[in-house]
Symmetry: C2
Subunit: 704 residues, 2 copies
């Protein structure tokens, strides 16, 4: 294969970024509405900026420390000199993805509310366009980072290896995997910090405002109301963006790393990057199919969003065939076309996991309706039923991922070559993520619609507007559910690819390393136990963090109600900024311990149990983390929608005993679905990334 | 080593059974109290008998079907002809253990109440003696089953192999592993069925009696009150007994199976059996140290129980050294004495896991007190904190088991011989379980004390009596917590030993079988994912089962309150039998699906993914199941004690908002700690057992 192919990757990146820019311009061309709306939106924007500024300041300390640590390791020869720099760029671009997404989301909220006062379709257009900016920024920056490093390493630093393709790719992928660790670390801070912020604010606003003071949701008298709206942006938008940036880049780099042992060299390295480039174009085309009539109901809105994703998928299905055919030179090696079904299996798995997530969490299906029924016998039964629902729902994603792994492994030639089969597994992750541009767009639009509803409420817009934003928001919950399933599924596949890349790295570093990865080898087995425990430990830490952060915001809201005269009467303004500040500080403080757990565990396990033990730990954490993340996401989603189902009038509606029980379920579900569950996605990838980067250290100093 | 050593095993069995008989006589020599007490106790006994009769009838259908299936498999040559019979005896003895334990428990409840009216020490004596009957019946019957089959196979059916020790042991252990599957199946039915019964009755009695009708706990007007007391016996006594019977026998047989590949032959087969025999004597001696003064407070009561366990442990520590020295001929092979530290690591791990379980679930320590504090902000926060506590608490048992596995593996020679190391892991499980006689005694005494309290209440005994039984009961909660930790830890180690025995079985069946147990081999990896999911799926099924069974009992109690005139006034009797009957039928119906899941999963996975896939599944289920079981047990235990802590006067005491929130936590915790959590112990062992028995089928027909 001639190498001009690689030029398509930066082209894809530029296309994505241009499209994001075009969409951003479009969003900004809409009116932001009345002065009051601008003021509210401004407060949210200001809060979100303050949060991100604080977060990036705090995180930069971590990055500087890590840069020094990695620098020292590079200096003593445990790492190549590019690693510290790659680490920094990965973190930078991941952070930038979150930043841009949040900027546009906070710019779009009032505009969506204003557009909704014209028509539902206009509202959808603004909200979806802002989601699009996020989606394409993520993939554009991902491909940019990939391109820069790829070209820099291939034609610059490692040009001397040009004669030995295998050695060159190995050197390139080893350096590039490091920026995955940078991206993972940043993503973890974003997800955990954002998750803590959003839920602390949410709980604080609900517990004191709604329950104690008895004022409605999104009431401007509630001092935590702005923090609550900021939370939607920093948690759901910035956190989700950083998470998927990391899966996207991670799956591509891991697959590149596997290209050599699979025997495909540069052709094999090209496939994941080209698939991503093709996916960019397909996603752009898909966005043009997202439109609805003025009289659209929720069903046709959902249909509109789905259509975009399906069109993009169809294009990828068609276009990836020639890509693989040419890149892998299938004319001469016809068996290599087995990589194509691997792509399909990933794509289909993504859609199916999304479907089952929706089935278990949407109130249009039986499970959530039955969950709502269990609220009739009180909070205890709805909790038991919800946990039970979440646990049961893990069956399907596990089966789907299992089939996808099997199909991609054997289709890609796993029967004759182990490495070729594993390359296929990596490609299936890339296939699943190839539609990321549009998938993320449909997902990131939700928080914007949610914010728009809040602004409509606070700015006293006509009831009809709130109805429309509610329709958009409710749809956003559905797409958020599918988006979450997609994020978890792709994280699991990416983590698997990274584990294989880890083994590959060890083999490159120490060609005659004596692996004993047998599941019965005690270090592997013990690693497996520790790995199975880590997601539980990590979830416990993030849930406790939410609790502590929520406590401090509860006290502040109570204080303001007591001390600010005229607040309840509406004659004095609440001090929103202090609430935002408290959430920000709480999130910053609380995110440190869980993040360090993710980074220290693989190093500690490695130093004691060695490479085999680390591999066991990674496999255990990926398997159990996947199951636990699905459970937490689905239990939480189902509780949320069961509550909404009751609020829509079932079982006595708002204020009934059933509703009160459902609120308990929803409150328990909040940290499940928005903090702990999604953070596990990143944890499992970060563990692999850290293991890869610190492989040299472990090889040198481990006990076993 | 001369073979007369083996004779010590049946001697140990007879000693244990004689001691159990002696203790039973002692219990029965106490007075059962007034006519009313005898009547109440009779009703509980009758209900428990009715339940067990129904259960054994239902289960016998399953055993007959399995007998036929195994018979056909034996007929076509997939199994040896002993397998179906061994399967039946395993089930029979496991069931018998539960039956005897329950018989004595239901005989001891009124006697404990009556003895408590004399003094606390008398009460403790009766209750503990009845627990002793249970404990020694379990180990006595376990050793009996082992002895019968061992001698029958060694000197009867396989006497022709006497010239080839290795072949003979392999043939013997293969047949004996089958009775493990029989025991597992029976234990699963007992744990799941009993767990469903006890929680359905508990919830029914509380929800309608306490909450709706407003009558106190254990009030004779409550139609579900007898069912509730029956539940303590069928769930906590019979279920726990069958569970630990199975761990006990399973760990011994698995270690025997590993003796050949470790190179120890009959000496190695003797060690686990002799350790069990030594443990029997040690446990008997230990029981004589359980006594307290008349003025004993709870602390000295606990001290009394602990002393018995510590004495027994100390004896085993001393006595197991010569056992290993002679059995493994360490005079000639000094390195073999490394098996001794393996025993110690198991024993110490058991004690440590028990300690951490107590730390996380007892209200004398910080975690449960802080959990009680979180009830101040309502039911949602106590649920989140409780789940978080349970998740966090998994860290310690995982570390303890990990260290125990590492120590026993390397001490027993894993550095030079893989098989010798794994034999050490098996021995550590045997070491942990060697104190079972007395550990189970301290555990099984709890439900008796609980029942005694109920009878004291219903029979209107003086307040002082109830205070004493409450002190015994509260102590029972602590020992139940340590007992649960012990059950989970030993189940995990036993399951590990069984996985290794499984691989050994395959090697014996197909000596040149091409294993690829690498954790990266896709069937292993997928097996791992499926295995990680199974405990979640299984827990979901058991929790839903409790919910459904509880619904039907709620309706029945409501019906009786409505239809039976004079019930509330105390002029008419409630229809206790119908409530017992409904719980019984509910439990029978609901236990089928989870049990079948445990049996079918390994066969289905095996037929598709083959031996490697099954091994991955077993490892995944053991690791995740262990973590999930610990989490559920500790969350549940902590909620229970947080509620009791509040009831003792903290945060407003009974009736306060905090108390109401704590009740929600306790209700959620009930199926966690008494149904789903403990059932996972059996699930992980059953999966291995089924895999072993159906290994021939899988080898012949699997796809991969």
């Amino acid at each position: 294969m001639s190498e001009w192919f690689f030029v398509l990757v930066p082209i894809g990146s530029i296309l994505a970024l241009l499209f994001a820019f075009y969409q951003a311009r479009k969003v900004l061309s809409f009116s932001e509405g009345s002065a009051l709306m601008r003021k509210i939106s401004g407060a949210v924007r200001q809060g979100a900026n303050a949060y991100l500024k604080r977060q990036y300041t705090g995180v930069s300390v971590f990055f500087i420390v890590m840069f020094v640590v990695l620098g020292i390791m590079a200096f003593v020869g445990l790492l190549t000199p590019f690693v510290p720099f790659a680490f920094i760029t990965g973190g930078f671009f991941s952070g930038l993805s979150g930043f841009v997404g949040m900027k546009i989301a906070t710019a779009a909220n009032a505009r969506t509310a204003q557009a909704s006062s014209e028509s539902l379709n206009q509202g959808l257009r603004v909200a979806f366009s802002s989601g699009t900016v996020m989606g394409f920024t993520v993939i554009g920056l991902g491909l940019l980072d990939l391109s820069i490093w790829f070209f820099l390493l291939k034609y610059g630093f490692y040009a001397n290896l040009a004669g030995d393709a295998a050695a060159q790719i190995n050197a390139i992928s080893a350096a590039m995997l490091t920026f995955g660790m940078g991206a993972s670390s940043m993503a973890l801070f974003a997800r955990v910090g954002g998750g803590i912020f959003t839920k602390a604010a949410d709980v604080g606003a609900d517990l004191v405002g709604k329950v104690e003071a008895g004022i409605p949701e999104d009431d401007p008298r509630n001092p935590a109301v702005i923090a609550d709206n900021v939370g939607d942006n920093v948690g759901d938008v910035a956190g989700m963006g950083a998470d998927l940036y990391e899966s996207y880049v991670g799956s591509i780099v891991a697959t590149i790393a596997l290209a050599v042992s699979a025997g495909y060299n540069f052709g094999g390295a090209a496939v994941p990057m080209l698939m991503a480039a093709v996916g960019t174009v397909a996603s752009i085309i898909g966005t043009f199919f997202v439109r609805c009539g003025e009289q659209a109901d929720q069903k046709s809105l959902l249909h509109a969003l789905r259509k975009g994703t399906y069109v993009a998928s169809a294009i990828i299905i068609v276009a990836s065939f020639p890509v693989i055919w040419f890149a892998l030179d299938c004319a001469h090696f016809p068996e290599r076309i087995g990589v194509y079904p691997a792509v399909l299996s990933g794509l289909i798995a993504g859609v199916l996991i999304g479907f089952f997530t929706e089935y278990f969490t949407s109130d249009t299906y039986k499970p959530t309706r039955e969950l709502a029924d269990s609220s009739l016998t009180g909070p205890a039964t709805i909790i038991i039923s919800g946990i039970s629902l979440g646990m049961f729902s893990t069956l399907f994603p596990v089966i789907i991922v299992s089939i996808s792994v099997l199909v991609s492994y054997f289709a890609a030639g796993g029967g004759t070559s182990f490495s070729a089969g594993l390359y296929g597994v990596g490609i299936s992750a890339v296939g699943m993520l190839s539609t990321l541009g549009i998938t993320l767009a449909t997902d990131a639009y939700g928080p914007v619609a949610d914010n728009a509803g809040g602004i409509a409420e606070m700015a006293h817009l006509p009831a009809q507007v709130r109805e429309r934003t509610d329709a958009l928001d409710s749809l956003g919950n559905t797409t958020a559910a599918t988006g979450k399933g997609f994020a978890i599924g792709s994280a699991a596949l990416t983590a698997l690819a990274l584990i294989v890349a880890y083994i590959d790295e060890i083999k490159i570093k120490v060609p005659d390393f004596l692996f004993d990865l047998s599941i019965l080898n005690p270090p592997v087995l013990i690693g497996l136990f520790i790995g199975a425990m880590l997601p539980f430990l990590f979830s416990s830490m993030t849930m406790q963090a939410v609790g502590r952060a929520a406590q401090s915001i509860v006290q502040e809201v109570r204080r303001q109600f007591k001390e600010i005269k005229g607040l309840m009467e509406g004659t004095a303004d609440a001090d929103y900024a202090t609430c935002v500040d408290i959430c920000t500080r709480g999130a910053q403080k609380e995110m440190i311990a869980p993040a360090l757990t993710g980074i220290i565990s693989p190093i500690a396990v490695g130093l004691i149990l060695g490479v085999n033990g680390v591999t066991g730990m990674l496999a255990g954490a990926t398997a159990t983390g996947f199951v636990l993340a699905v459970m937490m996401a689905n239990s939480g989603g189902a509780w949320d929608n069961a509550k909404k189902y009751i609020e829509a009038g079932k079982h006595g509606g708002k204020g009934s005993a059933a509703h009160k029980a459902a609120i308990v379920g929803d409150t328990v579900g909040d940290p499940f679905k928005d903090t702990s569950g999604p953070s596990i996605n990143i944890l499992i990838k970060l563990l692999s990334m850290v293991s890869i980067v610190f492989a040299g250290l472990i090889l040198k100093f481990s006990l076993l």
